[in-house]
Amino acid sequence: MFQVRIHGRGGQGVVTAAEILSVAAFSEGRHAQAFPSFGSERMGAPVVSFCRMDDRPIRTREPVMEADAIIVQDVTLIHQVDLFAGLLPEGYVLVNTSRSFDELGLGDLFGQFHRDHLVTCPASELALEQLGRPLSNAALLGAFAALTREITLDAIDTAVRDRFAGALGERNVAAATAAYRFVTLAEEQVRAATD
């Protein structure tokens, strides 16, 4: 089972991101579960969503306590919420930012997790270019696909188009693709640097 936790704020599409990811996994023939941990409709409140993917049926309903990947959609949550609680040693971190981990004060992650499992991606900026609005969720899913290789970009694109009709879907796919390329490039550079 691969367990993902996404952190963001209300209105950023955190819940939608988990749902799209689950639909993507489903389209690849896997079992998938996505659900939120949030409450009343309120823009700006901290929101967490979860997605599990497995080749076997998923029975558990608990929040993702042991995460294989954590996506941080809103960096203002850093130091406010225990974002990385339960991240497994082999786990991945994807942060939506144009800054570096050090600049965010997250430099100590490098000591705990694999260097090439930690990546930042300016998903909001990429979304702004493609969508005209900084709605980063689709882009982050593309970045996630590149980082973890747990899901294909194709599956993400299919799920994104399923959720967003017409031109909106295409623009979100473009954002996901751009982020995918960004992270692929970043990963190559990291591996090149550590080889």
């Binding site: 689950s22 639909v23 579960q33 309903r61 406010q80």
Partner: protein
């Protein structure tokens, strides 16, 4: 056809396939996605003929359903928590009148303090009302139970509520098979009322009944619920035959054949419990779990049989009777009172507190070592309790406990589980 969709969406589509004629509901989290989806289908004409009534309260919702059902229309509504309490007079009225209304109860805690997350206190508040209460473990079962619910309700002239955990199931995306229209039509014939408001054959429905006959009327309702004990498994079998999967029934045991310790629970937590059972089994503990699907009527015999052979029963429940103890536990204790086993109550998940596999594993391990107290509150923060009690002892004007505790905890939503 298998689809990855939201639980609420699956329930809405399934309910629509049951061809309700009057749908009425009042918004309340976390049921809203269901009723919005049904409303959209009516507005678009995909669910037709159907009258969708936007009512002014939950009390009105159940009342509209009562009027519609008494006039011979298949009626449906949905609610949770506070909404259920607001309509409670009408809930009892519907059962007393023998109207086959089907309602989705998206289980949510009852305030104060106000809390929109899942627990079973709402269902427990109406367990004596005469409604049949079925609990879904998964979204697939939640959808399937609605099809069975309409059949059951209309056969017996008893209203049925399908309970599904709010947010945990209603707002979860998972793969499932929404029952097709043609299959539902084959399973669920049109509503043929036992009593109906018809100018060509006038009857008075809802007359006063005095001491001379009230007990008899109540007893008849009791007998109808006992009839349900036989119909529920039969319908589940028929459903399985028609749709090719197991949904519903009275109880569902898992790895209980040689179990020494058996957990009993309702609803979605059964999935997490099964994972915990597997881990404990690997560690050598002989544990199993029994899920109760039909909570009312309470399947005493089926429960006793499923638990026979166990030395220890651990009831994990999302409700409790303040000042006493478990609610489900009391029913289970009644069913097993002459069995030679211990019964432990674990209250868990109140107000949406996450029930983790880890905590369950520790619980099961402790149970197997006979180290469980009679009543345990899972993952209770005793520090918070002690501080608040100290506060209340120190000063009379100690303020609302809820606010004091929240100040203690810090920012809401800073915890994951």
């Amino acid at each position: 056809m298998l689809r990855q969709i939201e639980g609420s969406r699956a329930v809405a589509e399934t309910v629509a396939h049951c061809r309700p004629e009057v749908v009425c509901a009042y918004p309340i989290s976390p049921q809203t996605h269901i009723i919005e989806a049904v409303g959209a289908m009516v507005k678009a004409g995909t669910l037709s003929p159907c009258e969708f009534v936007n009512v002014e309260s939950e009390f009105a919702a159940m009342s509209v359903a009562i009027g519609a059902s008494a006039a011979g229309a298949r009626s449906y509504t949905a609610t949770s928590s506070q909404g259920l309490l607001f309509m409670i007079e009408a809930v009892y009225n519907a059962a007393g009148l023998g109207l086959p209304i089907v309602m989705t109860l998206a289980n949510r805690a009852i305030g104060a303090p106000i809390n929109i997350w899942n627990d079973h206190s709402d269902a427990m508040a109406v367990r004596d009302s005469g409604w049949i209460q079925l609990f879904a473990e998964t979204n697939q079962e939640a959808a399937d139970l609605h099809v069975q619910a309409f059949r059951l309700a209309e056969e017996l002239s008893v209203p049925v509520m399908v309970c599904m955990d709010g947010f945990i199931l209603t707002h979860a995306f998972e793969g499932l098979d929404v029952p097709e229209q043609s299959d539902v039509d084959a399973f669920l014939p049109p509503y043929e009322p036992r009593q109906v408001l018809d100018p060509d054959d006038p009857v008075s429905i809802g007359a006063m009944v005095g001491p001379e006959a009230f007990e008899e009327v109540r007893y008849l309702a009791h007998l109808r619920q006992l009839d349900a004990l036989a119909r529920i498994p039969a319908l589940a079998a028929e459903f399985s035959e028609a749709f090719g999967r197991q949904s519903g029934g009275l109880v569902s045991p898992y790895r209980t054949e040689d179990a020494e310790t058996i957990v009993v629970a309702l609803g979605s937590v059964l999935g997490t419990i099964k994972d915990a059972v597997d881990v404990r089994r690997d560690a050598g503990d002989r544990v199993g779990v029994v899920g109760i699907t039909s909570f009312r009527p309470f399947p005493r015999d089926a429960v006793r049989e499923a638990l026979s052979g166990a030395r220890r029963i651990v009831v994990v429940e999302k409700a409790f009777s303040i000042g006493f103890g478990g609610v489900l536990s009391t029913d289970v204790a009644m069913a097993t009172h002459d069995a030679d086993c211990s019964l432990r109550t674990v209250v868990a998940g109140l107000g949406g507190r996450a029930i983790t596999r880890r905590s369950l594993e520790e619980l099961l391990a402790a149970a197997s070592r006979d180290e469980l107290d009679t009543l345990t509150f899972l993952d209770l923060d005793h520090g918070i309790i002690e501080r608040e009690r100290a506060r209340m002892t120190a000063t009379r004007r100690s303020g609302p406990s809820a606010e004091n505790i929240l100040r203690d905890l810090g920012t809401v939503a800073s915890r994951i589980g």
